[in-house]
């Protein structure tokens, strides 16, 4: 375990030293892993997100709630620039993603890839790479994106597969796994990037009810270990248990932002009250 921890901390301390240097230039953002400012996004003239502000501190779990179509996925996908926002800024550990700060132009593919590698994402439909074994799914990006040596990447991958309870399937191919198993491998794949934040987009929505628990259990254990996570979910009990902060989206507006106790017991808006009543 201590072995893993030292592996984990080595690259990230280097990274944060880097960030400190840039933080002076852009103002002090060192305490926010993710900072979203006045983010807006339209699809075909329809505004899906409007003036969203969101900040995620290191070690925090932020859950995004809201009814279907309210823009939760779009917000999450803007954070790692899978969707390009129309307006607003997003910083990951103090560094702007998507737009080059100097030239004000879109980042090069290479620079963008480098920024994205600071984040990782877990998708509703798992999105494992079907031609690779479980182990190689987890080592693929560390080796071919981060340039790690194979032995190092495999040791790291196995430790994360262990953590999600999938080490025994290291040589299996994704099509032989259950949904819950696939999602746990996808989580190990995300962890193996040693990202500064992990983004989850409804990680249990594609799972049979009896498989939801195993995946939520893994995510809970990650929050206990201090991982920084942004989670879109429809699982209210889980959100309440795991979050440091809950935000609620409604038609592209962020209408409520609170700690989970306040959010679930004394919501400020009628909209959230109605939303919570419908859940039970």
């Amino acid at each position: 375990m201590s072995n893993i921890a030292s592996n984990v901390s080595m690259p990230s301390t280097e990274a944060s030293a880097d960030n400190k240097a840039t933080d002076h230039a852009v103002g002090n953002r060192s305490d926010h892993v993710v900072e979203v400012r006045r983010l807006s996004k339209s699809f075909d003239e329809v505004e899906v997100l409007r003036d969203i502000d969101l900040e995620v501190s290191s070690g925090d779990v932020v859950t995004i709630l809201g009814s279907s179509g309210s823009g939760k996925s779009t917000l999450l996908r803007c954070i790692n620039w899978l969707e390009k926002p129309d307006r607003g800024t997003i910083h990951i550990s103090g560094q702007r993603i998507g737009i080059d700060e100097n030239s004000r132009k879109p980042m090069s593919q290479k620079a963008l890839a480098k920024m994205r590698a600071k984040t990782a994402m877990v998708f509703q439909s798992f999105n494992l790479w079907p031609h690779l074994t479980v182990l190689n799914n987890v080592t693929e990006a560390p080796i071919h994106v981060q340039g790690k040596k194979r032995e190092e990447a495999e040791a790291l991958a196995l430790s994360f597969l262990e953590k999600v309870g999938m080490a025994h399937k290291r040589d299996a191919y994704p099509f032989t796994l259950s949904g819950g198993q696939k999602q746990r491998v996808a989580i190990a794949r995300a962890l193996a990037m040693q990202p500064e934040v992990i983004l989850f987009d409804e990680p249990t929505s594609a799972l049979d009810p009896e498989l939801v628990g195993e995946v939520l259990g893994v995510i809970k254990s990650l929050s206990a270990e201090g991982y920084t996570m942004v989670i879109v979910t429809h699982e209210m009990d889980f959100a309440r248990a795991v979050s440091d902060q809950v935000v609620f989206l409604e038609k592209g507006l962020l209408i409520e932002k609170a700690d989970p106790e306040t959010f679930f017991t004394q919501p400020k808006t009628d909209r959230v009250k109605r939303f919570l009543e419908k859940q039970h």
């Binding site: 890839a113 994205r116 590698a117 998708f123 790479w129 693929e140 990006a141």
Partner: protein
């Protein structure tokens, strides 16, 4: 002396023809496959300016009979001041012709890959080129393997046309033995043996690749 003895005595000629066919074929399909991959990679970018030229290239190659292309390269180009040796005309013809087919095959498989795993690659820091090489291309090759196998057989058969532009390939060897000694059946049967040998090796390679795909659950092609 039987007809077979005559063919046996001409074995050097056949062997030469075999080596010519084999070298031309293997270099050409390697280049054609590379060309196909490059085209598909270029078409990955939805906004690329290459789209129209590349699509037109593929369509033109697909409507052109191979022999006509080779005639154009060998007999047509000199009037534009470009004189190619037969072997090179053959190589270029095979490469472009089958490159276009490979591009079309890979393109067809590309649209069946889920967008989600591509997004997963971007989300984990892949650049488009690295993602293509590491994640898309291997899957295209696994998925397209039966079609690639067919295309290889077509390419092999197309090499036989090249004797018309004086490439000294297997078919040329058979033709010249049969013309010199008038043993057409034996000469061409011998040559069929050689073609069959090459096809057999390819067949085995494709079947091996099939097991590779089967293990990964790629059986739905």
């Amino acid at each position: 002396m039987t007809n077979w003895d005559i063919v046996w005595d001409s074995r050097d000629l056949l062997w030469q023809g075999f080596l010519n066919t084999l070298s031309l074929f293997s270099v050409a399909i390697a280049l054609a496959f590379l060309l196909g991959c490059l085209i598909v990679y270029r078409l990955e970018d939805p906004k690329t300016r290459w789209r129209l030229p590349l699509r037109s290239f593929i369509d033109i190659m697909r409507m052109l009979p191979f022999l006509v292309l080779v005639y154009l390269l060998y007999y047509g180009l000199p009037s534009a001041g470009i004189r190619l040796e037969a072997w090179w005309a053959g190589l270029i013809g095979l490469t472009f012709y089958h490159g276009a087919y490979f591009a079309e095959i890979l393109r067809g498989c590309r649209v069946t890959l889920s967008n989600g795993q591509i997004e997963a690659a971007y989300a984990h820091g892949f650049t488009p080129s690295r993602m293509f090489i590491r994640l898309i291309l291997p899957q295209l090759m696994i998925q397209a393997r039966p079609l690639i196998g067919n295309q290889l057989v077509y390419a092999l058969k197309d090499t036989a046309f090249l004797f018309i532009i004086t490439v000294k390939d297997l078919t040329w060897a058979a033709n010249s033995i049969s013309a010199t000694y008038f043993v057409p059946t034996e000469a061409f049967v011998a040559v069929i043996g050689f073609y069959w040998l090459i096809s057999l090796v390819m067949e085995m390679a494709i079947r091996y690749a099939g097991r590779f795909g089967h293990k990964r659950g790629f059986d739905h092609v």
